[in-house]
Symmetry: C2
Subunit: 494 residues, 2 copies
């Protein structure tokens, strides 16, 4: 057992170093170093892959299983879960040959440049032949992984274990039916900031947030990157980023709240006493996203949150020279805008973007539609759901990076995150009704963080994603609480 622990520590160490190489390349690295950095990441990734799929790992699993059979350690159940998770991940990894993995990595690496160029020129035709290859390889990959019902499930499983396209279809249909009338009823509110807010002022406010929400400054950093992200290079080294728009200082704040949610989850996981272990890891992308969305939306767009932070924000932003009425500000951060661009969209519209992508990529992987038909299908669906006309491919089918990376099955986890976050928060609040008072009066978020720590963070991968939500809330995952939350928010603003 000790040799397995040592092995897993080394394996985790390599993973942490790879995370630093990535973080540095997005936040710090001089631009000419990109290709060398690629070599560095490739070297360690290959080392890590060899460790995971190699014979020594198999031998250690056998030894560990034997030990668990023949002894009665106090943590026998935990050990069995560790081996179940590890073997599951390992068997999946072994289904692809290293040649296939490398070929796919080269293709998607190349595709990133082609996609960026096509998006710049607003011309899907330029991306079509490459995307065709990615879709073909993704279908081949699904066949290699294997599935019971449809190939999309095999890809989805990599992001959200236990999730099925047929279940998502039902879940998303009820959500979509509720969202479309909601979006048509909701209002858009204008940006109340009359002047630009400098990056220094925004940053000065943002730097205060993570530690107040519960992420210690001594174990984390907040920096700037092109796209906000969250990562970790150790149990006590969680790093988040945001980006700054001078005319809309709100966007950097919500970037920080979102990424802090991710980082709190990772920080909580790493405080499990069994760290590092295959079980001490995020259970799924959907649950991960629920943690970011919960702090961004349920908490960050609440009246209580801003009752507490508004004076500080005005002070840090040096807004004394004109009126910025709280009400205008509060409406703006909860405005519904039906934007065509997913990453710029509000919390209501966002889910329609995701459902559209899910429907399209599921049909692509089932060969029901062809890559060449994508722009037409995309634009028709946008008109149907949003009532908006797409003018060109850049604001349509080419807007997102995911497909160029071969990440089919990833999109639905964003909306699962929204659904889970509303359901989790509803359950928390039903037993912690003084929470909004704690927040608005004292900026005290500890009851929420403690509840999440107990019900989500410290669960690691002990339960499957849906089981975790069920155990935490007493109900199967369902979209009822998200719809209720969005409805009440819209009504509150009117």
């Amino acid at each position: 057992m000790e040799s397995f622990k040592k092995f897993w520590k080394d394996y985790s160490t390599i993973g942490d170093i790879i995370s630093l190489l990535h973080w540095d390349s997005e936040v710090m690295m001089p631009e000419d170093a990109r290709s060398e950095r690629g070599d560095q990441i490739a070297y360690l990734s290959s080392l890590s892959h060899k460790m995971f799929t190699g014979d020594e790992c198999a031998k250690l699993i056998d030894e560990y299983n034997n030990y668990l059979e023949k002894n009665l350690p106090i943590n026998k159940e935990f050990g069995k879960r560790e081996m179940l998770i590890l073997e599951r991940d390992r068997n999946r990894a072994l289904k692809l040959s290293s040649e296939f993995v490398e070929k796919f990595a080269r293709l998607t690496n190349f595709a990133h440049g082609v996609w960026a160029e096509a998006k710049k020129e607003k011309d899907f035709k330029k991306f079509e032949p490459t995307l065709n290859k990615i879709v073909d390889m993704s279908i081949e990959m699904a066949d290699k992984y294997g599935y019971a019902n449809e190939p999309y499930d095999a890809l989805l499983e990599g992001y959200e274990y236990g999730e099925k396209a047929s279940d998502l279809e039902i879940l998303f249909k009820s959500l979509k039916n509720s969202l479309i009338p909601l979006i048509n009823e909701a209002k858009s509110y204008p940006n109340p900031f009359k002047k630009e807010v400098s990056q220094e002022f925004q940053n000065s406010f943002n730097q205060k947030l993570p530690s107040i929400l519960g992420l210690p400054n001594t174990s984390s950093r907040l920096d700037i990157s092109l796209h906000p992200f969250s990562t970790g290079m150790g149990a006590k080294d969680k790093r988040i980023t945001t980006r700054y728009q001078l005319e809309d200082p709100i966007s950097s704040i919500f970037g920080v709240l979102h990424e802090t949610g991710h980082a709190l989850y990772e920080f909580g996981l790493a405080s499990m006493k069994e760290y590092p272990s295959p079980v001490v890891s995020a259970v799924s992308l959907g649950v991960h996203e629920s943690q970011s969305r919960l702090w961004e939306n349920q908490v960050g767009r609440s009246r209580a949150f801003w009752d507490y932070f508004y004076p500080t924000m005005l002070k840090e932003f040096s807004i004394y020279h004109y009126d910025l009425p709280f009400d205008d500000f509060y409406k703006f951060i909860n405005s519904v805008n039906k934007t065509k661009i997913r990453v710029e969209s509000d919390q209501v519209t966002y889910n329609l973007h995701i459902i559209l992508r899910f429907e399209i990529e599921r049909d692509l992987i089932s060969k029901k539609i062809k890559v060449s038909d994508l722009p037409e299908i995309w634009n028709a669906k946008m008109e149907e759901s949003f009532g908006v006309k797409i003018e060109n491919d850049a604001e349509g089918v080419l807007q997102d990076v995911h497909w160029s990376g071969g990440a089919f099955g990833y999109f639905p986890t964003y909306t699962l995150g929204n659904i889970y976050s509303a359901q989790l928060f509803n359950q928390f609040f039903s037993t912690h009704q003084s929470f909004w008072d704690d927040v608005s009066k004292r900026g005290d978020f500890s009851s929420l963080k403690n509840w999440l720590n107990k019900n989500v963070y410290q669960k690691g991968r002990l339960l499957e994603p849906k089981e975790l939500i069920k155990q935490a809330t007493g109900e199967e995952p369902n979209s009822e609480y998200l719809i209720k939350y969005l409805k009440s928010k819209i009504q509150e603003l009117e």
Copy 2:
């Protein structure tokens, strides 16, 4: 030969990643991550050590040597040099068992804390038992490495190949004899800055410097750390740091100039067409230091340099509200202060600090003096050379970190750097007499950078350190040019 190149590329990649782990820990890392970071560095260092000393490396050397014997490749001479350098380094590394290396690493890691504590309490007695162990192990290490004349040579060789204590003794004696009267004759000039200069203002000026001196912004960064340093995590990723004192804005600038000199050398090395290779590496610490000192002192403390940069500096520092006469400024940056602290000392006094340390550590390693006598010896020598009285151990024998790290033989390379820099610059200037004009009128440093590129950077480890200096300047290394430079500087100010 191809398999050796692949091996060396992987080995270099690991080294670059280790450099990033170190850089990040000094510049970015949240404090609670220190122990995990130690594990990460230890993991990769052990991997790197195993690669270097392992059987595969030996096999590849044999194959490469066979190939060179049986074929006539165009780069046969280069290949032979590669193997000579590699075998020399490898044989040295193999002389210490991994147990010994680990024991020494644990001891010095522990000693760092003990030294810091003792320095804080200004009490050498607290450090004495630990330093005793380090000295004992260093003597043991020298025995393992082996030597012809005295044990100190075996340690020195690790930093400055081909250098001997007996040669240093002669070189340093003549230098010391010239420096002591010079120091007594030289004047100290007061700080002419009447107000603090903010870190933002200083940084704004400093960020301009490296690229003007020839280090491209697209391949480098300048950040802040506790102690200035220079490192690289790839051929096109050279990073330097400085530190800021608000009341003395000059110190951060000279930090930048010094570290830029180191980085230019490393950047020039990595542009050798054979990169990466055992030959494409700094030839010695003395030559490395000559590159930093040359840009810091010969260039950075020159009148021409400041003729060009002074107006920019005043502008960036927002110094309009009071007079800062150029002459006062120029005297201040060339002031001689006889300070007791090495890292705060001027370019004249500095070398006396080094010679004192060399004399002491040589005697320590030869067992001519005992660790317990160090404070007394230190203080007596300070009085003799500087005419100053040491009040406590913190400003005396405990001031430097090096001995706690077991780095005996490191100090002399600082003064070798000063000697080499004066000798190199003298040779360059004798054939490029328009240089000061190019600098003062146009900020054009290209002739110097090109000369160094040809005569130092692109030589890699093709020559031994002393040969390199001789080939570049036509003379054996000697202290004449350093003394001449310092004398003329002092006379100029009077």
